[in-house]
């Protein structure tokens, strides 16, 4: 066992810290949230230069073959800096799915372009009726001689507005809840029948609802089908959920720093409010929560590529559920301890709080992952 980052990881962490301090301060970030694209193309180019885009992708396709812990290093800083670029969607989520799929051609076509920062991809998997269940979908895929025709609606596709391609899940067969009867397709942005309704998100990013009306894709666009498709989706979403855990851990430590600083400087009744024991003990609880959150993020990161699906599910759903609750506590208390100052748009505290909230609502919320963890433990008692 070893709980330290490697020299390389520490160097990467330092690089990102400097990048954020230099090019991504709070004011710059706020300007970006109000811009058209909602993120910085320059920053994205720098991600490519720094090798962030290559980091977790396979070496055969220009990647660096990094692991979940490498991604954790990046995502912690993404959290601290509240970075807006579509790293999670393009690199971790879709990049991970494509890297795991069977087609060398698709990988050759897409991964080097991602590494080079020339290509962005978004996952269009969730549908309103299925909530966070990847296998519950109504979108249909009808095969014809040229390939497939896709029809359906997808909710809240993260980073859709800037995506060049979408990974779309749909059903060649089976009812909405059938686990096996689905497939995963690569759909280029500019395909006839594909409509976007774009909008900003509560944490400053961009997303869209998608409508597919008889969208045609060729046979080669199938990334996976049947059980394999669901497995690809789950791997990708689990790895991305682990990354969100790391992002949350980064935010929580930054938020605790800010709150502790405020307790030491804000004066009421002639003294710093940090002398009041009720607030001190709240801060101690937040410190303990930070440590526990970090431990859970480590568990998630080290299981991100676990081939044992049950172990991966328990580790990552467990971490996402735990962090969903613990980070909500830290976020709410950080605002509370800042008093009215925690409520204003001018301070980063409220933005950290909002981002933590939205992380919980992304890729399965606390309740979804708690149920997934708890139900996975259901059979356990036989062993116990």
């Amino acid at each position: 066992m070893d709980f330290r980052y490697t020299e390389e990881q520490l160097a990467l962490q330092e690089t990102l810290r400097r990048f954020i301090a230099r090019d991504y301060d709070f004011e710059r970030r706020r300007a970006l949230t109000r811009s058209g694209s909602g993120f910085s193309a320059d920053a994205w180019a720098q991600y490519a230069e720094l090798g962030l885009l290559a980091l977790p992708l396979p070496e055969d396709y220009g990647g660096l073959g990094g692991n979940g812990v490498d991604v954790m290093v990046v995502m912690e800083q993404v959290g601290r800096g509240l970075l807006l670029e579509p790293y999670l969607s393009t690199v971790v989520l879709c990049g991970g799915i494509i890297a795991a799929c069977g087609s060398r051609d698709l990988k050759q076509q897409l991964l080097p372009a991602i590494v080079a920062g020339k290509l962005q991809i978004a996952l269009a998997a969730y549908e309103a009726a299925g909530r966070y269940d990847l296998s519950h979908l109504a979108s249909s895929a009808v095969q014809d001689k040229e390939g497939w025709r896709l029809t359906g609606r997808k909710s809240v596709v993260l980073d859709a507005p800037s995506a060049d391609f979408f990974l779309v899940s749909a059903r060649p067969r089976g009812s909405a809840a059938d686990l096996e009867g689905l497939a995963l397709f690569l759909v280029p942005r500019e395909t006839a029948g594909l409509t976007l309704h774009p909008y900003a998100t509560q944490s400053g990013g961009r997303a869209a609802d998608l409508q597919l009306s008889d969208v045609h894709v060729e046979a080669a666009a199938v990334i996976g089908s049947g059980a394999e498709a669901l497995d690809l989706l789950e791997r990708g979403v689990d790895a991305a959920a682990a990354a969100l855990c790391a992002e949350a851990a980064g935010i929580v430590s930054a938020l605790n720093e800010a709150t502790l600083g405020y307790l030491k400087t804000r004066k009421q009744f002639g003294v710093p409010i940090g002398v009041f024991q009720a607030l001190q003990h709240r801060m101690a609880d937040m410190y303990i929560a930070e440590e526990q959150i970090r431990s859970m993020a480590i568990i998630a990161a080290t299981h991100a590529e676990d081939e044992d699906a049950l172990a991966r599910r328990r580790a990552i759903s467990g971490a996402k559920a735990y962090i969903g609750q613990a980070a909500r506590f830290v976020g709410q208390q950080a605002v509370q301890l800042h008093g009215a100052m925690g409520m204003v748009d001018d301070l980063i505290v409220s933005h950290y709080f909002k981002r933590l909230t939205m992380i919980d609502m992304t890729l399965g919320d606390t309740d979804f992952h708690l149920a997934r963890f708890s139900d996975a433990g259901r059979g356990q008692y036989d062993a116990a």
């Binding site: 009726a129 609606r153 609802d209 409220s350």
Partner: protein, 403 residues
């Protein structure tokens, strides 16, 4: 011990319900149901409507033109108003400055200000907090310098709610630096149109403009606008805070929010079935519902004791404020969480009265969804303003527990 309503109370409820049914403008009702922004006019018009009916200030004593309602009547009115999606009555005039003027103001002030408050002619706002003085209110520094028949007022107030609409502001000002900080404070009524008064918006985390900084540069205020005695303002301020807190429990609005929550949990799906059928989520709702059931009775017990003993609200209201604000926040949180992914979109335009959802979005995205995340963020204020939860617990310890 009897929790049932008397025949009179039931008749009153029927009367209120019929009135609301008939009088709440459909447009306003729709705004509230869909979580759209209310404009000043929505609220002022409603106050005037209530006034015409003689219900402009049900809780006021009859001698000031109020309804002289009992605690239970008042509660019935609030519950029905919330259920009918009637606009809230803005509290700053009716519930905050008015009781102070009734109790400590002179006849001239009572005749001048109270009728205009009840008639919805004057919009009041509150000038309490200052940048350095929040929980530690007594340390406030805004100065009022007596010059003949005027005070010259200089300083800044902050965290002022809806001051951008206000005709008048009641302020705590420092008229003396002698003795303990509490001793040099006076309670002053200031016309917002006076030269030297300026309002600067503060944008909150939900992107909305609800609160303000208010600056006072050499603002002349007639001595006639001093309430009670000079340097006695702290007494009036505490009196006012307790009145304010009697309303913070907001049981009526919480009940309405609970109903909305159940509607949302019914409309949203999990694995193709209503979320409300999911025992896990339903249990979360049940837990808040139980807190609210208890608070409804605690609230009525406390308020009816004040009425029975004919005394102004005491420190017991701090418990109501603590619980009420927690419940408000839990309900807002569950409403957001019920949305699942749909909590993520930030559609500012969707708060506009006339917003029509994009048909693609509309297919699954209900109009009311767009406001829920913002409401959750915004309502974090509930445990901060009007005396933070921490301050309320200090009050309970000192005034009730003797710690």
């Amino acid at each position: 011990m009897d929790l049932s309503y008397t025949a009179e109370e039931q008749a009153f409820r029927a009367e209120v319900r019929a009135f609301l049914e008939a009088e709440v403008p459909e447009e306003t009702r729709a705004k509230l149901r869909l979580g759209r922004r209310l404009c000043k006019d929505d609220m002022v018009r409603w106050q005037k409507t209530l006034h015409r009916r003689g219900w402009g200030a049900g809780m006021w004593p009859k001698r000031f033109g109020g309804g002289g309602w009992s605690v239970v009547q008042q509660y019935i009115f609030e519950e029905e108003s919330a259920a009918a999606s009637a606009p809230p009555q803005i509290p700053f005039g009716l519930r905050m400055v008015a009781p102070v003027i009734m109790t400590f103001g002179n006849a001239a002030q009572q005749q001048r200000f109270l009728p205009r408050i009840i008639a919805g002619e004057d919009w009041w706002c509150q000038g309490y907090s200052e940048p350095g003085s929040g929980s530690d209110l007594a340390s406030l520094r805004m100065s009022a310098l007596r010059q003949g028949d005027h005070y010259l007022v200089n300083g800044q107030k902050t965290w002022n709610t809806l001051g951008q609409y206000a005709d008048w502001i009641f302020c705590l000002v420092r008229t003396s630096n002698e003795g303990r900080p509490q001793q040099g404070i006076s309670f002053l009524l200031i016309d917002m149109k006076t030269p030297g008064v300026s309002v600067r918006p503060i944008i909150t985390l939900d992107g909305e403009h609800e609160i303000n900084d208010i600056f006072f540069e050499s603002v002349p205020v007639p001595v006639a606008n001093l309430v009670g005695e000079e340097n006695q303002g702290w007494t009036y301020a505490k009196f006012l805070l307790n009145y304010e807190r009697t309303n913070n429990a907001g049981v009526g609005h919480c009940k309405r929010a609970l109903t909305q929550l159940k509607m949302i949990a019914t409309a949203q799906s999990i694995n193709g079935r209503p979320l409300m059928e999911d025992a896990r989520f339903r249990d979360r709702i049940a837990q808040v519902e139980l807190e609210l059931m208890a608070l409804e009775i605690t609230n009525l017990r406390v308020l009816s004791a004040f009425a029975r003993e004919d005394r102004p609200p005491g420190p017991e209201v701090s418990a109501l404020k603590v619980k009420g604000s927690e419940i408000v926040q839990q309900l807002a949180e569950l409403k957001m969480r019920a949305l699942g992914h749909d909590a993520l979109p930030y559609l500012r335009e969707a708060l506009e009265p006339d917003w029509v959802p994009n048909p693609l979005l509309a297919t699954h995205y209900p109009g009311w969804a767009s406001s829920l995340s913002g409401q959750y963020f915004n309502l974090r204020k509930a445990t901060i303003y009007a005396g933070s939860t921490e301050i309320q617990k200090n009050v309970i310890c000192k005034m009730i527990l003797g710690l």
